[in-house]
Subunit: 344 residues, 2 copies
Amino acid sequence: VKYPIIQAGMAGGVTTPKLVAAVSNEGGLGSIGAGYMDAAQLRRHIQEVKKLTKNPFAVNLFTPPVYDASKDKIEKTNSRLQPFRDHLHISETTKIDKLTDSLFLEQIEVIFEEEVSICSFTFGIPSVEIIQRLKSRDIILIGTATTVEEAIANENNDMDMVVMQGSEAGGHRGSFIKPFEDSMIGTMALVPQASDVVTIPVIAAGGIAEGRGLVAALVLGAQAVQMGTAFVTSLESGVIDAYKEAIVNSHEDQTVVTSVFSGKPARGIQNEFISKMMDYEDELPEYPLQNSLTKSIRSEAAKQNITEWMSLWCGQSPRLTKRQSARQTMLELITQVEGLVKRS
Amino acid sequence: VKYPIIQAGMAGGVTTPKLVAAVSNEGGLGSIGAGYMDAAQLRRHIQEVKKLTKNPFAVNLFTPPVYDASKDKIEKTNSRLQPFRDHLHISETTKIDKLTDSLFLEQIEVIFEEEVSICSFTFGIPSVEIIQRLKSRDIILIGTATTVEEAIANENNDMDMVVMQGSEAGGHRGSFIKPFEDSMIGTMALVPQASDVVTIPVIAAGGIAEGRGLVAALVLGAQAVQMGTAFVTSLESGVIDAYKEAIVNSHEDQTVVTSVFSGKPARGIQNEFISKMMDYEDELPEYPLQNSLTKSIRSEAAKQNITEWMSLWCGQSPRLTKRQSARQTMLELITQVEGLVKRS
């Protein structure tokens, strides 16, 4: 990997093989957001990326959740979601997806079979056994942390690198030790404090969308940056045009952190679905149950171009994003960095 | 001013004349935190600083608040605070301080009489009339903003520079357009987006406590940085030792933003007073009323070394702070910056 730029492994169809390959082809590290994929989907994605690039790429997985399946919460929320389904003419019954140890183990098998060389994790650290199996095949492991304590846990559990996810970051919070409210640390504060404590390389994430943020992160002690929102708006990303348009037209003060879509806190653009559901935030079933309950609404809303009912994950730097190819974003990043280094 | 380093004008006795002068003497810009001072106190502080330095320094003022004095809220909160007062043996009756237009006008007169050359503001933008009077005397005006929209308002109202206060910052939030919850933007995201939109110089604040943050902020587009917490722990700062000790022993995930001390959201180290009062946060009288109600508790707790009942304002980078002279902090900053620039 030539440049210290990682395209975040965003799940839910953002990271098309074309996007991943474009970033890797330009010397960054593309990542397949495989959190919700079954074995067949993951295999297909990996094989397509391999056709499009000879360079390394990563697969991002969700560490399996432990959750309480309260029937009461599911039923209550289901009835609150029914008006959305009716309006969208969704007739099929809602299925609760398995997002369990067995899915995770299937994904890991695909990683082995397809000889993926880099694997990143969100929502906590996998079991010792899984880590040992991955490491025995020399797979590079990248963890995620939102506090210094979580960074230490990643280091102690043999992660090779750790993404420090600042509070600015779009999408799901990776917090796994303290509640997320206690783990909303700005990137400017998080990166130097983590770099001082852990010895594994730190990757800065959150609010970084172009060359200034990249250089600033390296100055703060990071060895690389991870960018998400900047690639959601790329031509190659898998989301609908209206979502990309919503990001480039948003301001830094128009995102919120909410659990209403998935049961887990995530940062996205404030919209009607959030406004309507946020009063019930404390009564939602946990992730991944809530994610299953809202799935048909989100995908049907996307089909019907109703961004007000979609999860529009977005970080706090939407003003810095552009609708252009990932290749163009990479080229601009590199040019900007060269300019900034020359200036100093 | 030789170096682009501003010591934040922290009110409540942090910014002793010695601290302000030490920063200015080393080529930074010291600031008197005059928000709560009456005319006599402010005059004395300015005169003492002038004795200790020939270099420029600033005075920070609070733009006068508009507030609703609900008698019911005052009485309810007063009774909830009584147990703290009893425990601390506070016998005098609580007085509601005036923190009004007339105090602000008195402070402005002192600024004129003492020929202060730089004046900064928190909690909004002063009236057109005040701004014109200050500008007619060539006083440099520095505003505070927490969103790009607020930065634009500062520029449109003739501020010469604007401090962009990121969500990491310790002490009071300067938000004055949207509710503070919508204005918690990380420094990494806030600075480049503001720099792109306003033409006046941007000063970065929030999470910056040493050379890495300073250089990173300049890379992001700031012309200078403002640091608060890093100077609270200085030998010259006016707070008690136990408070300084609490900061240097804190972690990045141990601060919260709370209104329980003053009626206005501010970031400080989580402690018992916050835990006990936070359930009533929605029922508190507004700033500055709540500030008056808790004043004797905070000052008596400081006298008795009970940090659990004090407001321990602190940003999200406490691990980067040191107990040393402000001069030493300034020297280290400059050395670090030179090292970082050489390395690049």
